[in-house]
Amino acid sequence: MSEKYLNRIMIALLLGLPWLAHWLDEPYYVSLATRIAILALAGVGLNLALGLGGMVSFGHAAFFGIGGYVTGILASHAFNSEPIISGFMGTTQMLIIWPLAMLIAAIVAVFIGLLSLRTSGVYFIMITLAFAQMIYYFSISWPTYGGEDGLPIYVRNGFPGINTLQPIQFFMICCTLLLITLWGVSRLQNSRFGNALQALRQNETRVTSIGINPLGIKLTAFVISATITALAGSLFADLNRFVSPTMFSWHTSGEIMIFVILGGLGRLYGPLAGAGLFILCEALLGGWTEYWQFFLGLLLLGVVLFARGGLIGVLSREQKNA
């Protein structure tokens, strides 16, 4: 089965099943699908840096959490009518929250990227982890926005013309954003930038020797990747109506990596397959045994050792396009 065909099946399932659930009046499954879409989006972000760019960032939870906290903070200020900065009372409009979350994540990513991308290998992994840890511990110790207890979002933020409280409508927002992002990333993959980035992953010396500055390309990819993951974080906060420091934890970074690997590293729809598989494990296995993470661990280990191409690699048996 070709990869393109697999992708279409996944989209069909992603769009079709929640509507079926909605029609059958099972909002739980709609929320489940929403979670899949959001986590897939986070994975798409990471996949850009990791799968295409070869940057093993173990701190992407930082951006996920920034997206979440920007959302939570803006909403809470608006809710309590407390100004953040003179005059600005926060907002509960998604259309304003998303760009702000992505902008702040981008700024932080530029900073982290400039410092981290001078290193490589295990040092890069450690330094990205360190930045995420710093933000994690800081968010626990800083009491203003809940500290360890987290920050609730009492009412889901608003989108013009949509009743975001309705599970299926919120799902459509998340799903649409995911599809738009997938489209964007696919264009990026085939563009000059994507071409240089993927070449850089394979042979940095060669790319440098033909006049392309590796730092510029990598930093840009890192920042774009951060903004996508931050958007996912913002949606995640709205889904759960809650943000907490765990969004910053290294476990979260690891989980986002798991989505990407389970589905197939570097494959466009890999994160969707991976997130789907992960949530399926959680929902199905989780209902059966409370030790479901044991089996997830086995699955992950199996994929890393024996099925490097992930779910899509195994099903399509096709060499991915470079």
């Binding site: 264009r187 990026l188 085939n190 994507g194 033909i210």
Partner: protein, 249 residues
Amino acid sequence: MPNPVIEIINLSKSFGAIEATQELSLTLNFGEIHALIGPNGAGKSTLIKQITGYIQPDQGQIRFLGQTITQLSPANRARLGLAQTFQVSSLIMEYSCIDNLLLVVQARSGSSFSFFAAVRDDQKLLAQAHNYLEQVGLSDRHHLPASALSHGERRQLEIAMALALEPKAFLLDEPMAGMDPAGVKNLIEMLKKMRLQAPILLIEHDMAAVFALADRITVLDYGRIIATGSVDSIRNNEQVQIAYLGVSS
């Protein structure tokens, strides 16, 4: 006599106690093939890395077309027109031959910060890439990934990528290494044509090829130049014979 294309002035580099380059000065002039020879460990690779920018010298200057490039990054030096091939083929292994070349053509023809237009749809770039492949005789292998090429074909691909930069100078690091006699012959013809395009600084161990190609030869030993001159003068130079062969004629 126009200024040299590459000018190396009093270059020195030490790694701890090892003096890899000692007050080395040399030039690469327009239209010439300047061969750099010397026994293993003489410092040829270190010198090349300093010219291309991967190693910073402790002392000295490097000038390219009159501009001092000692502080420039490797990528910027390549943009100025310095093309190199590597001693061990350095290709984008998963990419096809044509994709490898497309990357070079892309790099030369504007910014890589374009995010939406598909680069493989750009017919102009593709045509140029095919052109360079043809020049090295790899057209019929264009779709194959670089990993599937034979050793000799990979060396050819390296040359094609250097050509595709339309450079102002070539730095070739043992291009004939591991090639069969037919391949070497072809490459010698290729280099003769390339010299007309841009001068070549050639590191080689294949002495027959060096004598057939070089306009000038410089001999390195222990980081120093022990002789430099025409093919004949080097062939008859006693110091060179001692350094290379350990005997005096």
